[in-house]
Symmetry: C2
Subunit: 361 residues, 2 copies
């Protein structure tokens, strides 16, 4: 067991990489510009009418964000693949006029590589989103978007998540329908920088949760991926049983879990999901839940047990700007998992049972 | 608080409905035969090349099963919808040549109805899978498959899950590629009857877990929906924080949660996922996890802390028969949640905070 003392030095690789995100996202956006234009031309000329993502873990959460973003702006249906059909059951799918996107920071997940290889055989256009140019995934795909995150030393991925999201946002901006995003990409690194201003507040907030063994993490729509990713960070670094749900699915059963004192983390950015967030927060407080609320809105923050107020710059103004908010909203989730691990005397850089590259079939 | 005494009468609505499943599934299969043939004709004549499911909670797990089954046999890509894009963000999707299937036992989920209504406007063929013929969902859809489960009194759904799965299996059998399922449907109720033989064994097994507050529930491929559904039952009836994963996703991070004594429930049917199940079980036991294994295979059961052996009839012989195994494998999951609730002194028929019909937007 690794046992740094509580309150120990914050000089972890994970924290350093959380801080690198504005610069890394700027590089990812720059690297994505040209290949995104090429892929957009392919999508038009090949009359692509379906996008299928293959990804695992953190990369799957970036895919989930892109599923909302692309469907919202481009209007093409986006599916998340069931990789085992390709790798375990070995069944082909009809994938003509389909763009198959594999997301993997290492580019070495055998199942994700296999989905792309089978997609190519079936006539699909294939794209790798990866942090490693010389990887099996990049070699298998027709096109590549590099995350340009630099080496990621922490096992718990942070900058490869936001750079994957950024690369996919740049691709979406290049596709027909993505025009509203284009003028907004340049400011994105600065918005993540703004989210980092929350660091001291999060460090001060985690102490209350040092003995929590379980929690629920909620987000709706564009923030559902954020909830899933924040829950995974809590599982990896703090060994907290963190259950993520969309707020709608949460009402269909898991709400029975709520009891006095249960920590519930809610990501509640401005936008059309706000009435749902407020209604749910009122109910959660009535049940005595301990609500950690990441938001900018006064009404939502006033309902929190532990309010975490993000600067207005994180969501920006207007609906198109709000579509990019998840890249900032995940930052307090990352910091919370990191700081809570330290407070528990755990080493966030080296979760038990995990290695940096996971090879599943 | 409702506080029946531990070991109290097992005459609950939930248990009665678990037992009704063979008869209910027989009715669902009979009811589905004719409309399935009509829908199959529509799918061919309209050159459907994408299927999109919209569902919440238990119904979403039936959709997850159908996603594997239809992709495996029919080869058409199947996506799970993101309902909030239709209901909260109000964006259209290109859904020509698409079959949109809404699954809802009550047929009254406003978000699911909305996805079907928007699908129709966009030119999709729409299908309702519901237990209520005179419901908003049935009225909105072009076609209807009725579950014929009879009134479901328990808030925790059981027979509407297996009948939804059965109706979707009948539809798959009618589609091009579904031929191998056709001769197997008739025996399906008997296979679920066989799974019910496990009842005494489960009742005897739950005592060990009466103080467990959290657990992990695992299944791969066709059993991923089973894992999700079993976890939801544990959350609803026992208030256990139950984290479901595909075994592949589990290795990408959540494996860090495993510590000595953590209950891990694994659904491990015969078939191509067995090597993965065995490898994972060996690792889990090395970590000291408390493994509840639902299986037929000796090697898998020998690795269990708590083995739950299903009769051979549940999976049947051959790959096509195994595709229907999830309808039997969920039965011990349902019984486990029911019996553990009783053992904890809780009323499985009336989970706190829930009502039978959940209306999310």
């Amino acid at each position: 067991m690794r046992m740094p003392l509580p309150g120990k030095s914050r000089q972890t690789a994970m924290l350093a990489e959380i801080h690198e995100q504005p610069a890394a996202v700027a590089r990812a956006l720059m690297a994505a510009a040209e290949p995104s234009a090429q892929i957009a031309a392919d999508v038009s000329s090949r009359e692509i009418d379906l996008i299928v993502f293959a990804a695992r873990g953190t990369s799957d959460h970036a895919a989930l964000y892109a599923q909302y973003l692309m469907q919202y702006l481009v209007g093409i249906p986006v599916a998340l693949a069931t990789p085992s059909l390709f790798t375990v059951y070995r069944r082909p799918l009809r994938l003509q006029r389909t763009l198959v996107i594999g997301v993997s920071q290492s580019g070495e997940g055998p199942d994700i590589i296999e989905v792309l290889a089978r997609g190519r055989e079936a006539g699909a256009l294939t794209l790798a989103v990866t942090n490693v140019a010389d990887s099996g995934l990049a070699r298998t795909a027709d096109r590549v978007l590099l995350c340009e995150a630099g080496p990621e030393l922490s096992v718990a991925a942070t900058k490869t998540y936001t750079t994957s999201c950024a690369a996919l946002a740049a691709l979406t901006a290049a596709l027909p329908g993505g025009e509203p995003l284009r003028p907004l990409l340049e400011a994105l690194p600065g918005r993540i920088e703004s989210a980092l201003e929350i660091e001291d507040r999060v460090a001060q907030a985690v102490g209350r949760y040092v003995h929590a063994q379980e929690c629920v993490v909620l987000g709706r729509g564009f923030e559902y991926g954020t909830a899933r990713e924040a829950a995974l960070k809590l599982e990896e670094t703090c060994y907290v049983t963190a259950l993520p749900f969309s707020t709608a699915d949460f009402r269909h059963g898991p709400a029975a879990l709520v009891e006095r004192g249960l920590p519930v983390m809610l990501f509640a950015p401005p936008g059309p999901t706000m009435p749902d967030s407020i209604e749910l927060l009122v109910w959660l407080r009535e049940q005595g839940a301990d609500c950690i609320v990441v938001a900018q809105d006064d009404q939502a923050l006033d309902l929190a047990t532990t309010p975490i107020r993000l600067p207005a710059a994180v969501s920006g103004e207007g609906y198109a700007s709000q579509l990019l908010a998840p890249l900032g909203y995940i930052v307090p989730g990352q910091l919370f998992a990191h700081d809570l691990a330290l407070e528990k005397g755990l080493d966030p850089d080296h979760p038990r049972a995990l290695s940096k590259v996971t090879r599943t079939h």
